[in-house]
């Protein structure tokens, strides 16, 4: 065994606190160490060359690098070892920067500690085994959970690369929240005009399959080989026979509040949510359909010229395999009914921004008129309240929902465009308009559209003589403000879907205290999750506007395509291994594994001459966390690269 030790100065990061030369000299005295040296930046090209040359010259077969944290340069030095002809897993790092020089001041003590850390790494490396990369096959198909703008964009990008994509959407149509918007800031393009072409692209693509009105029921497997169970809810309309002629919903006698129109308009019991729905196939709402509630009516079935109506249709459970999953499950609105000062949600004329979008929309329930839902009269004085739920640690969310400042400014503009006599008043905490042309847009709304911006919070809303009295403070002038409003629009924050934690657990991805999905790294891996093969896009991760959502959708697509183009996937061999001889089959490891990476396996025990069950690690799923090795009473399960033997050797060297 010939070990080389390479001590890095890291400029002055290490060298200022640790006497690197002495460390190198001391390391050279250790048994089995054949070579030891220092260099200013070991990770630089000259530094790596120094390693390669030393390996060649001194016939080194193991390497210890004393430098920074392995989370930063482990990959660099593994590659370097590989190029030098040493198995990459016969390289160990001693972290003498984060664990030593950065946290200590005393040079003598820090130097002594650095030497100790190197001795530990030497002990460990002496027990390292050469490991080979693992390769797993990959299913060349991407699942996209959610058919809003994020999911649609992802599907388009993946289809463009000629890989199959499947959109899973729980609503009867794709389109998501964006389909409900009227105009989009800051350019004021009509949302439908820019969204529907994308919806059509998806529906026409031979690479995209859509499972609408469908829910995800379970996910098994790992990157390259996910098996997903999907419940296709009974639509009661045969998607293959229906031509979308509309005869059924034109004749349906039932009228219930439309979810798509936020209850401002009505829909029938057999319905499509909006005219440009994709697929253009209706669904029967069985809770309200007379056939399902009273066994009466049946008009739609009688009238359908294509015999597409099927009252007996059952939910269908299907299983499909995917190589990667993109999560685009979106957001929902904060429920402002927690605000007693705003009437606990009891005032009809205090609506949310999404209600306003539907009213402003010319094909919406009011035909583009901004009215008071209580009496249908046109609204003149409209108060917009920002940060409802957002930035309120007491009753709402600690975070800023990021887009409310912009959509409120857009609403104030649309109000004026729809009604010249109207006046917008906007209560705000800060105006956060950090986006391309965003600040200019807000300025325009203030200067050209006469929106009155008042810096302060609203303390109370109450009804009097048919008006909503809005009381608040203008903190800039110090005045108390009272506005007699026809309509109040609450800029409710964006929150995670109520079932987001369930989905996260299914996918083995973490979520934060706000139930928003957590990315692998907030800066450097913003669309990845810690579960390989699962990527994030859109507002399921954090509140995002359309440009940001589309950008992350394409980013997630590229990450998924990066897997699709591989013939097979290379994985780190740092996974748990079961010793079949000693495994007693207690399966404590299965309980301990949070990634369902361990299964039961039947083997033929030659010694006992009978079949028995033991644990088997799915190498593709195992993340190398080591939980199983800690609970194994027989020490039959061991983690490659962090084996019990290696750890014991380190402890003994202390």
């Amino acid at each position: 065994m010939k070990i080389g030790v390479f001590v890095c100065h890291c400029g002055t990061n290490i060298a200022a606190t640790v006497d690197v030369e002495r460390v190198s000299q001391e390391a050279a005295k250790e048994p089995r160490v054949k070579f030891s040296t220092t260099y200013r930046y070991m990770c630089s090209d000259p530094g790596q060359n120094l390693i390669k040359e030393a390996v060649k010259k001194h016939h080194l077969d193991r390497i210890v690098i004393a430098s920074c944290s392995p989370s930063l340069h482990e990959k660099t030095f593994r590659k370097c070892a590989e190029k030098a002809g040493v198995n990459p897993y016969l390289m160990e790092m001693a972290n003498i920067r984060e664990h030593c020089s950065w946290v200590h001041q005393d040079r003598v003590e820090a130097t002594a500690k650095a030497i100790e850390l190197i001795r530990l790494a030497l002990a460990k490396v002496s027990r390292n085994k050469p490991l080979e990369y693992l390769y797993i096959p990959i299913e060349k198909k991407v699942l996209i959970i959610g058919g809003g703008i994020a999911g649609i964009q992802s599907a388009i990008d993946i289809a463009f690369a000629n890989y199959p994509a499947v959109i899973l959407e729980r609503e009867p149509s794709i389109g998501g929240r964006m389909a409900r918007f009227d105009k989009t800031f800051p350019t004021l393009d009509c949302a439908a005009c820019i969204l529907t072409p994308k919806m059509v692209t998806v529906s026409q693509s031979k690479h995209v399959t859509m499972h609408t009105y469908s829910e995800i029921e379970g996910v098994k497997g790992h990157v390259g080989d996910f098996t997903v169970t999907i419940r296709k809810k009974a639509r009661s309309v045969d998607i293959n026979k229906c031509t979308g002629c509309g005869a059924c919903y034109n004749k349906c006698p039932v009228r219930v509040p439309s979810e798509f129109d936020m209850g401002l308009g009505k829909r029938t019991a057999i319905y499509i949510p909006f005219p440009q729905a994709v697929p253009n196939v209706p669904v029967i709402d069985r809770q309200n359909c007379l056939w399902f509630t009273k066994q009466k009516c049946g008009i739609c079935k009688k009238i359908c010229p294509f015999e597409a109506i099927d009252y007996d249709m059952q939910d269908e459970i299907i299983e499909e395999k995917f190589g990667a999953i993109i999560v685009a499950s979106g957001f929902t609105q904060f429920n402002h009914a927690v605000y007693g000062e705003y009437g606990y949600g009891k005032y009809k004329d205090a609506i949310t921004g999404l209600h306003f979008e539907r009213m402003a929309n010319s094909s919406g329930p009011t035909g583009g008129k901004i009215i008071r839902p209580s009496d249908g009269k046109e609204a003149r004085d409209v108060v917009f309240i920002q940060c409802v739920g957002s930035r309120d640690e007491q009753k709402g969310l600690s975070y800023c929902s990021r887009l409310c400042c912009m959509y409120t400014a857009k609403h104030a503009l649309l109000l004026k465009e729809h009604n010249k006599d109207a006046q917008a008043y906007v209560f705000y905490i800060d105006i956060r308009a950090a986006g391309k042309n965003y600040e200019e847009f807000v300025k325009k709304v203030q200067d050209e559209y006469g929106a009155v911006y008042l810096r302060g919070r609203v303390s109370r809303i109450f009804e009097k003589s048919g008006k909503l009295i809005v009381r608040g403070a203008d903190t800039l002038s110090g005045a108390q403000i009272e506005i007699k409003a026809d309509l109040v629009v609450l800029a409710t924050g964006l929150v995670a879907q109520p079932d987001a934690p369930g989905l996260a657990r299914m996918l083995h991805i973490p979520y934060d205290r706000n139930n928003l999905f957590t990315e692998a790294h907030p800066k450097l891996a913003p669309v990845e999750t810690i579960t390989s093969g699962v990527f994030l896009t859109g507002a399921c991760q954090s509140p995002k506007d359309i440009p940001d959502t589309v950008a992350t959708a394409s980013a997630a697509s590229v990450k998924a395509l990066g897997l699709m183009v591989q013939d097979r996937l290379q994985r780190e061999p740092l996974v748990a291994k079961v010793d079949a001889k000693t495994c007693s089959g207690c399966f404590a490891c299965i309980q301990a594994c949070s990634f369902t990476a361990i299964e039961e396996e039947e083997i033929e025990d030659k010694r006992l001459k009978k079949k028995r069950l033991i644990a088997k690690v799915l190498e593709g799923v195992c993340t190398g966390c080591g939980n199983c090795t800690a609970v194994c009473r027989m020490s039959a399960i061991d983690l490659e690269g962090f084996s019990n033997r290696q750890i014991m050797e380190e402890i003994e060297a202390l």
Partner: protein, 290 residues
């Protein structure tokens, strides 16, 4: 049911009728109120604007007196007393710095163990509304009132832990049991001007005037209160409000205990209904109770 009763200064002076009616109602229902011997001022507004420690030490002194009685739980009627006692308990329970200082000043050990209840809370949540409804002799139908809670009874919510902070409803619930119709109005927790009554009367005239106007607009025939300061501002200053804003308010300001007393069949004079500035007897006669 036995309580250490803390009347506070108001109930012994300007709000005598609150004290009378509370004791009359409690007596009829068998709720024993034993006045804390040697009780002192709770500190009210003056203490907490002059010295924080004083504003805690005064109520703690009273709570310690109550602790020495065998009843142990304190009942109070004044919203300010209730608030100060609750705030003191909150600090003594949760803030070790203040606890140590106050205990040092008083020379005794206290950490918020004496419970404090408002008499409204006792009627509704201890005696139970249902039990109360069975004791009613005269229903007060045909009477429409605005229940006014003021600012101290519910706030701050985490300290008082009493009713809904923004839209309290306990008094409304109580009124409904008596047959009284409470109006749905937005000024339940507005400020009446409180102790500015003496120093800056104009503020009180404006704020209390707004409250009277809102109650009137919403169709209330009287305002029901649970705070002696609210009562005095709305009642005592009503004539000045009328003069200043050219109004003709004739709005009786009643304590909830007085209406409960009437429903229990107690003589109006024993409820102090003759002690108001705006005479409520006319209204009470008109709804057929007398």
């Amino acid at each position: 049911m036995r309580y250490a009763y803390f009347p506070g200064c108001s109930l012994h002076s300007t709000a005598k009728e609150y004290d009378l009616s509370t004791k009359a109602v409690a007596g009829t229902l068998g709720i024993e109120l034993i006045e804390i011997p040697e009780w002192i001022c709770c500190g009210a507004t003056p203490a907490h604007i002059t010295m924080h420690l004083l504003s805690l030490a005064l109520p703690v002194k009273n709570l310690l007196l109550a602790k020495k009685m065998d009843s142990y739980e304190v009942a109070t009627c004044c919203a300010a007393c209730f608030n100060r006692l609750k705030v003191a308990n909150h600090f003594m329970e949760n803030d070790s710095v203040h606890r140590d200082k106050v205990n040092e000043i008083i020379g005794e050990q206290y950490s918020g163990e004496v419970k404090v209840r408002h008499f409204l809370d006792i009627l509704i949540n201890v005696f139970w509304l249902k039990n109360l409804s069975e004791r009613i002799i005269k229903r007060l139908d045909n009477l429409k009132v605005a229940c006014y809670y003021g600012c101290l009874l519910t706030r701050p919510g985490e300290v008082t832990q009493f009713d809904d902070v923004e839209e309290p409803h306990l008094m409304d619930d109580l009124m409904k049991i008596l047959g009284v119709e409470p109006v749905d109005w937005p000024y339940k927790t507005e400020c009446c001007g409180a102790s500015f009554s003496l120093t800056k009367t104009d503020i009180v005239l404006k704020l209390s005037g707004d409250i009277l106007q809102m109650a009137y607009d919403e169709g209330a025939q009287a305002i029901v209160v649970a705070c002696p300061l609210c009562q005095s501002n709305l009642d005592l200053r009503q004539a000045m409000i009328n003069k200043k804003f050219k109004k003709n308010f004739d709005m009786p300001i009643l304590y909830f205990t007085q209406l409960v007393g009437l429903a229990l069949g107690i003589d109006p004079l024993k409820l102090g209904l003759n002690k108001h500035i705006v005479n409520p007897l006319k209204l009470i006669k008109s709804v057929g109770v007398l």
